[in-house]
């Protein structure tokens, strides 16, 4: 049971990672990051069956942080969109030397 859950978690995480690397739309990238986080959450829950309640506890933390991150991240993305009228990450690269 645990093995299957972990395999699913791994598949989700890899999908999320590739999504972040390949896609150019900021919103999609953001969704993929959420996918990665939740893949991790899944493995936490799976492991809590073997090692006790702490794993589930961590899931709540991750969800809280993810919510906060979503709030800030979406706000930034909206702000960028207002400025550039696009959310394609290739079109803004000012944050460098």
């Amino acid at each position: 049971m645990v093995t299957e859950a972990l395999v699913l978690s791994a598949i989700l995480f890899v999908i999320g990672t590739f999504g972040v690397l390949i896609r150019r739309n900021a919103i999609i990238m953001f969704l993929c990051i959420e996918l990665q986080l939740n893949a991790v959450n899944l493995s936490f829950v799976a492991f809590s069956r073997m090692f006790g309640i702490e794993g589930q506890l961590f899931v709540f933390f991750v969800m809280t942080v993810a919510a906060a991150e979503a709030a800030v991240g979406l706000a930034i993305i909206i702000s960028i969109f207002r400025h550039y009228e696009t959310v394609n990450v290739d079109s803004f690269n000012l944050l460098k030397w």
Binding site: V20, L21, R24, M29, V89
Partner: protein, 720 residues
């Protein structure tokens, strides 16, 4: 720090030795008064400097030529400077009289406080009062006072007047510390202090590049000698565990006679003396030191500071007597310097340069004296030399003063110190002329002037020492004796030449200029007169017993024979004892037979002949003023006029190599290698930073990709 200073001012130290019944009278005040003068004059100098700077800012200039309009900062030093010297001299005189009546056997140590205390090593701030330091104190405060008075006239229109007196007072303070300190460490304090003041006063007119360079030269050359003094002190501490005079001399004889250690100590001390007293090879700074005001040359570079080396050897007589090799070196350097400097003086045209080389030469004689064990004779010549050489320098100061005003009156830029521009000055300044002739006869060794007795005694002892039963190098001393006699004849010649060129013959100053020539004012000629009296009678205190009954002592009329010898007996007794044990009795005859009377007669008659011959010879020569003088000396005269090219030699083989090495260190090692290494580190960081910054594309995908690759790499590494 209040209490020790208070104790010093009160003279409240406790006398360590009760010998005789000598009660020191305020000895601390003798030292402290010149220091007080320095402080007061220094404050005035600072205020004066500000006032004149303000005046310049207002576009004015302080008028110092008119006595009524001089500011108080200019008039007060006139009283403070010589005033503290007069007070110090009077206190010294009281002490001298007390010591004279006490027949002191042991030195009196006046202890004030402990200066340095580390482990077993202690140095006390204490003054040593004995016959030797008393003689030196008398010379320093007495002659010093006269020179201070002379300075009032000489420097009265100088804008730096209070600064001048501040330095001069400070010099006297350090000089007194030098001779009164009870240990080599304290002596070294004075030794360095007088060097500092010498530097300050040589470069007194520091806005003139040449003069400030002369000051630097004196300072640097003296440093070379000071290293020797320091090393000698370290060796002394190693040998005796103390650098105080009393314990060192008490244990001196535990060192092996002619042993390596005592020879090393004395030779290193002598290196110090060579620097301070301008002997070969470190004499080069003294002629350049003539850049300072002339009274400074008289006080520092003739009468007192330069004789510190002689004082050092005389003070360390017990050590030098134990080291025959060192003594032979001392006398050898002395006699060579005496001859060498005398030959250079033959061809100098600057009146002060003649006197400077003459001083170097006379210092050589003093070293011959202390080198042949005649410590009292060396100190005797030191004393008489202080009289007549101070007189000569002050006299030349009066001449330069008059010449300067003469050229000033027509705004001429002729050289006021060049004797070719003088001539016939006796008509204008008779007092200076007479007093300087007295000094010239004294230095030339003409009976009965002071220099005759002192110089003759040194030459005599050179022979006597060489003829001692177990004299270490008898033939060497015969050579010394001959050279010393030859140099004495040269002295008579170049001094007479100087006098004739300056005062006799036709006046060459210029028709218009000569109207402004004048005799020095009373404040300047009175010190000359006093010194002239001392130059005549100063030698009479030490007429040798053998000579006293002969014509030289006016058949017994001249007073107290060998007074100075007996006076210094407590100081020199130990050295004479060591000498007698190891060398046996002195011969008291010349290498070529004949007694003391005969050779004294020969030397004074010969000197007299040289003086008369050179009056005729130099008087017969045609001298033309500098402006019209196109003659170039040739042959050996050229070598002499250029001082044997020693300065050029030092420049070529010492100064330039050091400069080249410094330039190499600066341009190559510092600028290229050290700075290069630092810059290289910077360049590398900058380059690496630039290269790495290329990864910062600003594109999120790049970052995400690198992040992922990185994590995978770490995981891969962990798994492997």
């Amino acid at each position: 720090m209040v209490s020790p200073l208070f104790a010093l001012a009160q003279g409240g130290g406790q006398a360590a030795a009760e010998a005789g019944h000598y009660e020191p009278f305020l000895p601390g005040l003798v030292v402290l008064l010149p220091l007080l003068g320095f402080v007061l004059n220094g404050i005035l100098a600072l205020r004066h400097g500000r006032a004149s700077a303000d005046a310049v800012r207002r576009g004015e200039e302080l008028d110092l030529g008119d006595p009524s309009s001089r500011p108080s900062t200019h008039t007060l030093p006139t009283w403070i400077g010589p005033g503290v010297m007069a007070a110090a001299f009077l206190i010294t005189l009281v002490n001298f009289v007390r010591m004279y009546g006490a027949h002191l056997e042991e030195p009196v140590i006046v202890h004030y406080w402990t200066w340095i205390a580390t482990g077993t090593f202690t140095v006390d701030a204490a003054l040593q009062l004995d016959q030797l330091s008393m003689i030196m104190m008398m010379i320093i405060t007495g002659v010093g006072f006269l020179i201070h008075v002379f300075s009032v006239g000489y420097m009265k229109e100088d804008p730096g007047y209070p600064r001048y007196f501040a330095y001069l007072n400070l010099f006297v303070f350090f000089m007194l510390v030098l001779v009164m300190g009870s240990s080599y460490a304290l002596m070294f304090v004075g030794w360095e202090g007088v060097g500092l003041c010498s530097y300050l006063l040589i470069g007194y007119w520091f806005s003139d590049r040449e003069k400030s360079d002369a000051g630097k030269k004196a300072f640097i050359v003296n440093r070379i000698g000071d290293v020797g003094f320091l090393v000698a002190m370290f060796l002394l501490f190693r040998a005796f565990g103390s650098v105080d005079f009393v314990p060192v001399f008490a244990e001196a004889e535990t060192l092996a006679y002619a042993g390596g250690l005592v020879t090393a100590i004395t030779l290193f001390f002598f290196v110090g003396a060579i620097g301070k007293s301008a002997q070969i090879p470190l004499y080069v700074w003294l002629p350049d030191a003539m850049a300072g005001p002339t009274p400074v040359s008289a006080l520092i570079h003739a009468a007192t500071m330069v004789t510190a080396g002689v004082y050092l050897v005389a003070r360390s007589s017990a050590l030098f007597a134990l080291a025959p090799l060192s003594s032979a070196v001392v006398a050898g350097i002395g006699v060579l310097t005496a001859l060498f400097a005398a030959t250079i003086a033959l061809k100098q045209n600057d009146i002060k340069k003649v006197l400077a080389y003459s001083t170097v030469s006379q210092l050589g004689y003093m070293f011959v004296g202390v080198g042949v064990g005649a410590y009292a004779a060396g100190v005797f010549h030191l004393m008489t030399h202080a009289f007549f050489k101070a007189l000569l320098f002050l006299g030349s100061g009066a001449v330069i003063h008059a010449m300067h005003e003469a050229y000033h009156s027509t705004h001429s830029h002729e050289d006021a110190q060049d004797m070719r521009n003088m001539g016939g000055l006796k008509a204008f300044m008779p007092i200076t002329w007479v007093t300087m002739w007295i000094a010239t006869l004294a230095i030339a060794g003409i009976w009965p002037f002071a220099g005759f007795f002192s110089k003759d005694e040194i030459i005599w002892y050179t022979a006597a020492f060489g003829g001692a039963e177990n004299a270490p190098y008898p033939a060497l001393y015969t050579v010394y004796w001959i050279i010393a006699l030859a140099a004495a004849m040269l002295t008579a010649f170049y001094m007479t030449r100087m006098m004739v060129m300056t005062f006799h013959g036709e006046n060459r100053t210029g028709a218009e200029e000569s109207k402004a020539l004048h005799e020095a004012p009373a404040v300047m000629w009175v010190p000359l007169a006093v010194l002239a009296v001392l130059s005549v009678f100063g030698g009479w205190i030490n007429v040798p017993e053998e000579l006293q009954a002969s014509w030289v002592g006016l058949f017994g009329v001249l007073p107290t024979s060998e007074w100075l010898h007996h006076w210094l007996e407590p100081i020199t007794a130990q050295a004479h004892h060591i000498q007698e044990v190891n060398l046996g009795a002195l011969s008291y005859s010349s290498p070529f037979g004949g007694g003391e009377v005969l050779w004294a007669t020969i030397s004074t008659v010969a000197a007299g002949i040289v003086v008369f011959a050179s009056i005729r010879f130099v008087g017969g020569q045609k001298v033309v003023p500098v402006a019209q003088d196109e003659s170039e000396p040739s042959g050996f005269a050229k070598v002499l006029a250029n001082k044997y090219y020693v300065d050029e030699f030092y420049d070529r083989f010492v100064v330039q190599p050091i400069l080249a090495a410094s330039r190499f260190c600066w341009k190559i090692i510092d600028a290229r290698i050290i700075d290069g290494a630092v810059n290289l580190v910077g360049m590398v960081s900058k380059g690496v930073g630039w290269g790495v910054s290329m990864f910062q594309t600003g594109t999120i995908n790049t970052y995400a990709f690198i992040l992922t690759v990185g994590v995978l790499a770490i995981l891969g590494a962990a798994l492997l």
